[in-house]
Amino acid sequence: MNTNKNNRIVVIGNGMVGYKFCEKLIAKQKNGQQFTLTVFGEEPRVAYDRVHLSAYFAGKTAEDLTLAPENWYAENGIQLYLSDPAVDIDRERKEVRSHHGLVVPYDYLILATGSGAFVPPVAGVEKDGVFVYRTIEDLDLIQSYARKARKGAVLGGGLLGLEAAKALLDLGIEETHVVEFATRLMPRQIDDAGSGILQRQLESLGLTIHLSKSTQEITGEDTITGMQFADGSKLDVDMLVISAGIRPRDELAKSAGIDTHPRGGIIVDNFLQTSDPSIFAIGECAVAHHMIYGLVAPGYEMAEVVALQLMGESKEFKPFDMSTKLKLIGTDVASFGNPFAEGADCRTIVYENKAKGVYKRVNISADGRELLGGILVGDAEQYNMLLQTCKNKTILPPNPEDLILGSRGGDDTGAATSVGGIMSLPDDALICSCEAITKATLCHEISQNGHTTIDALKKATKACTGCGGCTPMVKDIIQGVMKQQGIYVRNILCEHFDYTRQELLDLVKINGLKTYGTVLDQFGHGDGCEVCKPAVASILASLWNENILEKGRATIQDSNDRFLANIQKGGTYSVVPRIPGGEITPDKLIVIGQVAKKYGLYTKITGGQRIDLFGAHVSDLPNIWEELIAAGFESGHAYGKSLRTVKSCVGSTWCRYGVQDSVSFAIEVEDRYKGVRSPHKIKSGVSGCIRECAEAQSKDFGIIATEKGWNLYVGGNGGSKPQHAQLLASDVDKETCIRYIDRFLMFYIKTADPLTRTATWLNKLEGGMTYLKAVVLDDVLGIADDLEKEMQLLVDTFKCEWTEVVENPELRKRFTHFVNVPEKKDPTVQFDALRDQKRAKEWA
């Protein structure tokens, strides 16, 4: 029983800030200190990440968004009542009464009631098809209504409104409108010019933006059919999401006689105490320093301040920085400090590139010494450094324009701009603002406690666990601290090998090692892991090109390589036979169809011009391949870190524009490099003319026909950070082109870090493209002959891995799910029907 006084704490509200308060209080609880913590939540589910709510439409589940599972509360002795909002506070008796009639006494009451959507007083907001965007329940309603809607609008062009617009796009609404009352989008964060750039970016993605529109009425009988604006214009829509701002949930406080602000919100002092000293308010329901802080980071700070006070320590809530950086429908938008500073005390520098959709503005003090604030749209790479420079009042360099011109509109020229890098920041610089973690704390954890990885620091400090925006800076701090300690920072493989991949490759080669065991014995320690095993497997394959499943090498391969197929959701595998250059005969097409039918496989044309067969049980793989091989197919290595496809356009054999036979060249290139293992996958393309239908410039190496020969491009990449390939050689003949590719690929294979695509490798290569040209074209290192020979060895030793497995009973035996019942398939594998085929059952 609780005999201590002042130990009963009740929290009203189980949102992000209410949860964070519980987490912090539990973490700070000292030995012997015993609280009873009771939490009332209005929603049916435990606190979840509302900041990333729109990720729900992009495939995240409610469970993914949950901050802590329901049993976390019980395990920490917290009594949690969900779907049971508090309805009354009796301040005299110090009791809270809930909707279900529970009466709970408190010594301290924490109001974390948050905010609701602000719905402007427009006629017709109650009609069917009008929604707000606030909770997972709102999202469920929107999702089910959107199925029958074709045109949708969002009322409000602020941060939340644009998130909601993205949600409508994700839901497949054909026509999505954003209606904003102000003269620009995101009026609180960015200026007219920045907003203009953002608007163009959003329009190019299919959003229609209406500015300076005052909505007068929502039209329709019972169901919305359109919006009527004050200027007389109209817009027909089937659904409307209102996202016009937030309204603090202060009604409970108000009815209990606690002071509230005339415009809404519970008034608190610097200690977050309300007019009743036993009652605190935190998060979006509180008015602190005359404002409502509608961001999560200040809310978390409030939770910290109150938790500390309840522990008997003293801490004030100081005016909080409202700088933000976010990605809106793929466009970076950031503002920091005073983004709108103007006048005689301020000089403003603006960089604008309409073609690339980039806008950057920095406001600098009149004496040129301090950064006052700024705005970044389209490229916010420098946000963290600028924010720190601004917050810490770091003295600026003589040419402050370097701050934003360092990387001119996304050309990857390196982020080594501004003021002396991360290590020049003062110790109290706030690096992770979600969790209020300073540079000093991180440096201490790295240097004193040996937490030298992001994962370790996440566990030790919680940095990077909120919005994740500080992760790049935390990485830089790790490197910085280690450099300061005199440790030469090398990207060593993992705890088992103190070598970089390049060093280990040389050692393996010089010593002629061919198994993982011997490499580990001679150059490593411990038992290896899932990082170094596939890295060494790749090195062995790149050097000797022996079958990857022999001599104990099967168990060092990633699952895909181990079973020569791609593991898919549910545990089945996909099968991709090679179709060089995308050219295939009708007979072979028929065989693929027959095999797919026989083994019940889902078929799809891939992005690389071949056919993927999904849903194969592991034990069926050898039989499937036996049939495919008999029909003349061979492995497509879709499972390997190796050459995938060489995509081609139809070229001069059929196309009236083609200037060279791109298909024949693509087949020749694909046959040459098939099966070559490398640090990461390699893709290629060959186009028959400058129209570039094979998209060769987005490939690791791409070839484009010219009137005089071929242009060779290298270092292109699709993926999350697309990058165009750069021209390596122009108008060369086929033989020269192949020689240059040999050298380029082998140089990459020998020097890149594990799992590094050619684009990233080239970006990091000192001297960049100029140096690569010097090595590949001018042979400044004198290694061109060796590189060509090493590649030729790989080409000459190619064998189809699947043919070898099919013909080898020992290898074939490994393709079973149960070793003791080889004929039985995994009974947990399940499929759902989808458009006359099947799909993997969704994650449970």
Binding site: H496, C529, A554, T555, N560, F563, G570
Partner: protein, 117 residues
Amino acid sequence: MEVLVAPKHEITWHLACRVDDIPEDGGACALIEGKQIAIYNFTRRGKWYATDNECPHRQQMALSRGMIGSQSDEPKVACPFHKKTFSLQTGQCLNDDSYQINTYSVKIKDGKVYIGI
């Protein structure tokens, strides 16, 4: 080889497979009493381990296809799906505290592998 993990309570030994059914320094799955058990032949240490075959993160029957190795000195297996790693001794997930798998005793006799459940 003798019993490697001391049984906590009364356990029954089940014949799972032959020693050479499990690849060296790797794993494979056996069906025992309707349960999918992943068995690992940790040749480098001369030890055997057994765990659930199901990775609790996404309920995938895949741990037997994972790579084994060590973290500091702890023997572990990495799920091939999203690389959650689990201690082969305790079953604790090493990179996410919220997951845990069951571990089982293994006995080797006359070239055969027995699992204690």
